[in-house]
């Protein structure tokens, strides 16, 4: 019984944040942020370096738990569940996947990389895993590229392939939300294009929150955009609105390249 309730609570796809604050020791990196992130859309966070974008993103899957001296207050809701109460963090992370700035495939085969998540949650049957690997790679649009080298080492792939593999790996546990922290900053334009297409495709089923330094990227792929400055979320709204008609003068200055 307990299990079903738990799972039900952790399948939400929208994110709602109220009065969030975060400290690294004495340093406040997030200052009183409230925001509603809609489900099955791409939301982008932009802002100058060190303004707290990654930090904020990591609040959604509680990766900040790993950092000593990091303290979070405020309300973070995924669907209806407040994630900073007593919950199963691993179940949370199963629902809220993450893709990192630098591709981080595990030093194992392509197949095992993708099967890692499902295996974590108790799926060990070969046929089931085969199915998941195939679906995930297809979703990440790399099945044709990789179907013949499933047993080759993931470290042998190119940087762009590695990053898309990491996306496929995240998809394999069927998350409701995927967080991406500058997923294309280490990649060439062609790989970047592929990942951008992928993001649009994924919104059919998944909420995507992406941090990017590339404003064109934000305009190309995101439905909503948030502008961060010094730990504050200055403005969050429809992407068109933000880039054509920003409400805050700081946002305007940033997108027109006048500071940052």
């Amino acid at each position: 019984m307990a299990k079903t309730i738990n799972e039900k609570k952790l399948t939400g796809q929208s994110i709602s944040v109220k009065n969030a604050n975060l400290w690294y020791g004495d340093f406040q990196a997030i200052k009183n942020i409230s925001v509603e992130i809609p489900e099955k859309k791409v939301s982008a966070f932009i802002g100058p370096s060190g303004c707290g974008k990654s930090t904020f993103l990591k609040c959604f899957n509680r990766m900040n738990d790993l950092i000593p001296d990091c303290r979070v207050t405020g309300e973070f809701k995924i669907g209806e569940t407040n994630i900073y109460q007593k919950i199963d963090v691993n179940a949370l992370r199963r629902n809220v996947g993450m893709v990192f700035q630098k591709p981080n495939p595990f030093p194992m085969s392509v197949y095992d990389n993708i099967a890692y998540g499902p295996r974590t949650f108790g799926i060990h049957k070969r046929s089931a895993l085969d199915q998941i690997v195939e679906t995930s790679l297809k979703q990440a649009a790399m099945w044709n590229e990789l179907k013949d080298r499933l047993n080759g080492s993931a470290l042998g792939l190119s940087g762009g392939q590695q990053q898309r593999l990491c996306i496929a790996r995240a998809l394999a546990v069927k998350p409701g939300i995927i967080l991406m922290d500058e997923p294309t900053s280490a990649l060439d334009p062609i790989s970047t294009g592929k990942i951008e297409e992928l993001c649009e495709e994924l919104t059919k089923t998944t909420t995507i929150v992406i941090v990017t330094h590339n404003m064109q990227q934000a305009t190309r792929i995101s439905d909503k955009t948030g502008f961060f400055l010094l730990g504050e979320l200055v403005e969050f709204g429809d992407t068109d609105e933000i880039f054509t008609n920003p409400k805050d003068v700081r946002t305007e200055r940033y997108i027109t390249g006048r500071f940052g």
């Binding site: 790993l66 992370r93 595990f106 990491c166 790996r169």
Partner: protein, 608 residues
């Protein structure tokens, strides 16, 4: 339900790892507690001052704590002897080691440098009894040509110890020399200084702290060295009053008399161990000071005050260049020293290994039964088969104990703790301290802690337990190093997929760290095989039949070599044993180095 289970599993896992760390703490505490408690009566009876500063040692095994003493127990001659020998070793090994490091860092072409560096590392793995044996069969006969005696004494001891500390000095100094920013070199050359001037006026001064740290560490090694010294020092409890006078060091005192010691005598020997431990800890403290300074200095140089520091440095370089004209002769001498030392070190290495090979190989070829023959009591035919079996037992038992505990402690320290907790700091500190404790002190501890548990006589089990504790600190440290080398992004990747800590550790971290862990295991095997001082009075030193059980006593290969070389009748067998030892240890070291190489390659591949 499954959620709950997973949680409990995580908790149990953490408790398990923490338990291993606690065992390490207990081991540290036990060593100190045992030695101190056991030495208190002796210090009380003999008087701390009289014991340390008395310069007459003539022990009487019949002395008891309840009756007046008939022997005298003052160890000052040995304290003096220990320090004289250490200074001698430093004059030889320190100087040659330093210049060899300079040679490798700045004068040696790349390929010979790689070979030379790994040979130096191999040298560090050669058992100390083999050095002692080399001293007996090669050095002493050479020295006896100019000595009034058989050549033993201060000079022989200093030379042997000097060669033994060479690898430590070379590899650590080389590391800190290579860490000096390349920009200094370029700045100096741009100002018109030539290569050697730059090396000796700019580069080596910049690496000063690291070089001093390497020398201090070498002093710690020399203070604690036992068997090699025992074999060439002569060991009579006098002040060394000439290059060839027989003298005794602190470690030797323990080895010479522990085997037959009476009540007060045993107490006095344990007290000797405590004094030795005190000096070694003092040296460790000093080492800690200098290596910290070296680290902060290089951090400063490279990161914080990059510009100001660099400007200062340039000014200094300018001043140096002005003074070059006056001291150009000194630089030339230094350059000569560097190249000469490099060659000397290479020759010394080849000499030791080559000599044992040339003398030992014919013995084994002529009489291969030395290795596998059946043991017969009082037979002319010595065989080392029982020693090989004993050694295998010791390796197996000690690794079964120390690897899991050491690895689990490392996992606890690296994966579960956030560094700032007092408890953790105590564990780390304790492990660091243990790593510097001389092996004879472990032997002493094993003798008073483990031997009584197993019926009062030495046994394979007691010896293996003793050596297990000795292995722990290095295993913890090197396992931690390999765990640290696993990229953080790998762990994050696993956590982000919802994997728990245990799964992340076992599926992601440990597989990546495996080559490093394996090489730690192999090096530990090498140490068990090489060590002799901790075994003498815990596992046994009599070459006898193949042991039937772990409760039997037996001499390991290294102990057997000590025995054979001391008796004089079995010198051929000793050569053969030494060769077998060297081959095993070199093979293990080469394997470990290859594994470590594989690890770094893998990590590089990971980054690409």
């Amino acid at each position: 339900m499954t959620v709950l289970n997973a949680k409990n599993k995580e908790k149990a896992g953490k408790a398990f790892f923490a338990a291993a760390a606690v065992i390490c703490v207990i081991a540290v505490a036990a060593i100190f507690a045992f030695l101190i408690i056991k030495s208190v009566p002796a210090f009380g009876k003999l008087g701390v001052f009289e014991f340390i500063f008395g310069d007459n040692w003539s022990s009487d095994r019949l002395d008891t704590y309840d009756s007046p003493l008939s022997g005298t127990y003052g160890i000052f001659t040995m304290i003096f002897g220990t320090f004289t020998a250490t200074i001698g070793a430093l004059l030889i090994g320190g100087v040659f080691g330093y210049f060899t490091a300079v040679f490798l860092a700045f004068y040696c072409p790349a390929v010979p440098k790689r070979i030379f560096s790994s040979v130096i590392n191999l040298l560090a793995g050669i058992p100390s009894v083999v050095y002692g044996f080399f001293g007996i069969v090669f050095l002493l006969p050479v020295l006896s040509k100019i000595a009034p005696n058989n050549g033993s004494g201060l000079l022989a001891t200093s030379i042997i110890l000097g060669i033994m500390i060479l690898p430590t000095v070379v590899s650590l100094s080389k590391t800190s020399l290579e860490a000096v920013p390349r920009a200094y070199y370029e700045a100096s050359v741009a100002l018109g200084a030539n290569h050697s001037e730059t090396v000796f006026r700019v580069m080596t001064p910049a690496a000063k702290s690291g070089i001093i740290a390497s020398l201090v560490l070498a002093v710690g090694r020399a203070l604690g060295e036992t068997m090699a010294v025992v074999m060439v020092a002569g060991n009579s409890p006098n002040y060394p009053d000439g290059l060839f006078s027989s003298f005794r060091v602190l470690t030797a005192n323990i080895v010479m008399e522990m085997g037959y010691a009476g009540e007060v005598q045993e107490g006095a020997l344990i007290a000797t161990g405590v004094v030795l431990l005190f000096f070694v800890l003092l040296v460790n403290l000093i080492f800690g000071f200098f290596s910290k300074k070296a680290v902060t200095a290089s951090v400063k140089k490279q990161e914080k005050h990059k510009i100001t520091y660099f400007n200062k440095q340039i000014k200094r370089i300018k001043n140096c260049v002005y003074s070059f004209t006056h001291k150009i002769g000194a630089v030339k001498i230094c350059k000569g020293m560097a190249i000469g030392s490099g060659i000397f070190s290479a020759v010394a290495l080849l000499l030791i290994i080559g000599f044992i090979f040339v003398k030992g190989l014919p013995q084994i070829i002529q009489k291969p039964s030395i290795i596998y023959g059946k043991y017969e009591f009082a037979s002319e035919n010595i065989t080392i088969l029982p020693s090989i079996v004993t050694t295998l037992f010791a390796v197996a038992i000690s690794l079964i104990i120390s690897i899991p505990i050491g690895l689990m402690t490392a996992i606890f320290l690296n994966e579960y703790t956030k560094n700032n907790n007092i408890f953790i700091r105590i564990i780390r500190r304790g492990i660091d301290i243990l790593a510097g404790v001389p092996s004879i002190v472990y032997g002493l501890f094993g003798m008073i802690a483990f031997v009584p548990i197993f019926g009062g006589s030495s046994s394979i089990l007691a010896g293996s337990l003793t050596i297990s504790i000795m292995l722990l600190p290095t295993i913890v440290r090197s396992c931690e190093e390999s765990l640290k080398s696993v990229l953080k992004s790998q762990r994050e990747g696993s956590f982000a997929l919802g994997a728990g800590k245990l799964r992340t550790i076992f599926r992601i971290v440990l597989p990546s760290a495996m080559p490093g862990i394996l090489s730690a295991i192999i090096l530990s095997m090498g140490r068990v095989i090489s060590e002799s001082a901790p075994f003498l009075y815990t596992m046994g030193s009599v070459i006898s039949a193949i042991p039937n059980s772990v409760m039997d006593s037996g001499a390991s290969l290294a102990v057997a070599l000590y025995r054979l070389s001391g008796e004089g009748w079995y010198i051929n067998e000793a050569y053969a044993t030494a060769l077998v030892l060297i081959i095993i240890v070199l093979a293990l070291n080469i394997t470990a180095e290859m594994l470590a190489g594989k690890l770094s390659k893998k990590l590089k591949g990971d980054n690409a």
